[in-house]
């Protein structure tokens, strides 16, 4: 590769090494002796007391992977390499919403170093999703957000694959995109997935009679709360390797957090029996809900089948943001009826979930969000209505709390609004209404092992809540 170095008078190889602060090298001759990788690991292994006690539960036991993490010995997907392995990259949509007229991969295929390309038409069942299978593995007729993949390339290196992506020609017919969740919920908005509405999931929870108790209570509070789109940011980007063997069996190493359902999804998209798939999860470098569904595994499997080689793909940080799922933004209208003594008697809640382009884990998010939305309080009259709607934005899915952080922001903010109006201490109003053992949840479930008041009291004590009061 020295030929790629421009020759410069006097400045040959030594110029490269010239750095004023460099230490002089006196080991120059030793490089002729081949050495192994410069790695030394301890031959003494950990003996932690916390792992040796035969009363195991309650111990602050160290993790078996703790030492490996610290040594840099943990193998994540990107640390795994197979002989003859090649690398894949995915081309993303240029539009938030458009028809795909044509995809021409010929120029990419003709590039030296490119082994194969793949488009959505080549995927046996080009759809997936944990609740609704409304998401294409690679979009082949319509793109519904900028993160949709439209074609993939497998090449000798990431560098060549990247270059090849720029040679793929995709013709689009742009459509009018919808970005606003309220607009998309409206009656005359265009239908992102066809049908007669952009609402694709809803939930109602009804207990008692809210309207009647609003009429009878001492105070009614009404507020709207909204939350934003948030990315998981696992430090390890999504990564997978697929290797299709001569028996027609494919092995996939993936950063997926749920391999049983992952294998089902992959079998469905590839239209092969589950027994023909081996899915291996390694240590995942951060999940938080974002690695709970398949992404590029079917693409890599098919590229491996086409090329006969193991194929690896690691998302760039940009891919991670635009094409993996993120947290649902909520628009939440809260109306709460309260008596003068702070007793909550009624709560009516309307929630709109910005679902982004595809359903993903919205079913779980709308369910948990709705059930939890009245808060951990004894409220006899509850009415919750929640709707998830499509927009042409990044796909929202599972993220730590499935809607709970959003509704908690609303119900706990409003608790303070109420407390202030009634001249009550925030701790006092919470203790007054808090669930305890035997409380009835918004879905009329009898609750057991409720430790809410204990947590309120202990946290207040540790914080010095009563002492710090003005």
């Amino acid at each position: 590769m020295n030929t790629r170095m421009k020759n410069l008078n006097k400045a040959d190889k030594t110029a490269i090494t010239a750095k004023e602060t460099s230490t002089p090298i006196d080991k120059k001759d030793s490089h002729k002796v081949p050495t192994d990788n410069p790695v030394t690991y301890p031959r003494e292994f950990p003996q932690h007391e916390s792992r040796m006690n035969t009363q195991a539960v309650g111990q602050r036991a160290t993790r078996p992977d703790g030492r490996l993490h610290g040594l840099g010995q943990t193998q994540y997907i990107d640390d795994i390499k197979f002989p003859h392995m090649i690398h894949a990259k995915i081309l993303r949509s240029e539009y938030a919403y458009a028809k795909i007229i044509s995809i021409d991969t010929s120029a990419a295929e003709a590039m030296p170093g490119v082994f194969a390309t793949l488009t959505g038409k080549e995927i046996p069942t080009n759809s997936f999703g944990p609740t609704l299978q409304d998401q294409p593995v690679l979009a082949d007729t319509i793109v519904r957000h900028r993160g949709d993949g439209v074609a993939a390339v497998a090449a000798v290196s990431e560098q060549v694959a990247e270059e090849a992506l720029s040679k793929i020609k995709v013709k689009y017919e742009p459509l009018e995109p919808l970005f606003d969740v309220v607009e998309s919920f409206g009656d005359d908005s265009p239908r992102i997935h066809g049908g007669d509405t952009n609402v694709y999931a809803s939930k109602v929870i009804k207990k008692g009679d809210v309207e009647k108790s609003f009429a009878e209570c001492d105070h009614v509070f009404e507020e709207r709360f909204t939350t934003q789109m948030v990315e998981h940011v696992p430090l390890e980007p999504h990564a997978s390797i697929a290797s299709w063997d001569g028996n027609g069996r494919v092995s996939i190493w993936s950063s997926l957090g749920r391999i049983t359902l992952g294998r089902q999804d992959i079998a469905r998209t590839l239209d092969i029996p589950q027994s023909k798939i081996r899915l291996v999860g390694t240590i995942v470098g951060g999940n938080f809900g974002g690695k709970n569904e398949i992404t590029n595994e079917p693409i890599l499997a098919l590229l491996s089948r086409k090329t006969g080689r193991p194929v690896k793909a690691v998302y760039t940080r940009g891919d991670e943001f635009v094409s993996s799922t993120i947290r649902h933004p909520f628009v939440m209208d809260y109306k709460t009826g309260v008596m003068n003594d702070g007793t909550l008697v009624a709560r009516k809640i309307h929630i709109l979930l910005d679902g982004g382009a595809y359903c993903s884990w919205t079913g779980t998010t709308i369910g948990k969000g709705s059930i939890l939305s009245p808060g951990p309080y004894n409220i006899p009259n509850i009415y919750v209505e929640a709707y998830a709607v499509y927009t042409n934005k990044t796909v929202t899915g599972a993220m730590r709390g499935f809607g709970a952080p959003q509704v908690c922001f609303a119900y706990e903010s409003q608790m303070d609004t109420i407390a202030e109006k009634l001249g009550m201490n925030p701790l006092e109003i919470r203790l007054k209404n808090a669930f305890s053992d035997g409380s009835s949840s918004p879905t009329s479930q009898r609750l057991q092992s409720v430790a809410l008041k204990e947590s309120l009291n202990q946290a207040s004590e540790r914080f010095g809540w009563q002492e710090s009061e003005a």
Partner: protein, 289 residues
Amino acid sequence: MRPFEYIAPSSAEEAVALLVENGETARLLAGGTDLVVDLKHNAGNTNLLIDVSGIPQFRGIEETSKGVRLGSMTTFSEIMASSLFQEKMPAVIDGAHTVGAVQTRNLGTIGGNFVTCVPSADSAPSIMVLDATVIVTGLAGSREMPVADFFVGPRKTALKPGELLESIFIPKASLGKPSAFLKHGLRKGQALALVNGAAALWLDKDGKILEPRLALGAVAPVPLRAVKTEAFLAGKSVTDDVINEAAELAVSESRPIDDFRASANYRRQIIKVFTQRVLKESIRIARES
């Protein structure tokens, strides 16, 4: 990254020759904290990197009878470790300290930061208030200009084709001048500045402001010397009214933009508050010294 060639010349003359020979297809590599990122996103027509970071002429911090010469390839960490800066220009250290994180400061150079020429360059304001100049070198020899003249527009400097930033010069008169640096970002660690600013001034024995200097970053297309504000402050006694009026003037001299990080309106508020604070801080330092 797309392929390119790499050369590390050992002298400024060689670097200039390479730059002239290769024209726009060559780019100078200093620390690389901006350039390497750029190349990863879009290499454009770059096919040669000329690594000037090790050229002795561009390195080092020296005090002479006239002032301090700061080699353009000095890293932020080297500035922070310099006892000369610690003793006589602590605001420059504060500015350097807010550049990225440790790893960035170990790699990034002050010259690279200047040449990248983003409006929010954290190293610029605290240097500008010291009446510093830059020395550029090229085929036609060297020339010197005030730092403010070096910044022409966003990502655009006064460097002509074939010219390199050789060093920054801080005049003796500015050494030990009471000064302060402040930055407002979207978070505490590794933050890009929404507004940064530095002030330097002397107080005479009656407490009047002498030779006031105020520089603000991220408030205009380039790091800005607030010359009207400086003129207003000169010779004034320190009162709340004076500081408030100066802050309003600084706002009027600025041309903040609306972008996804903040609205222009909000930036104006921060400029006002930060001008007040950085002036008060430099006055406090002046009173203590």
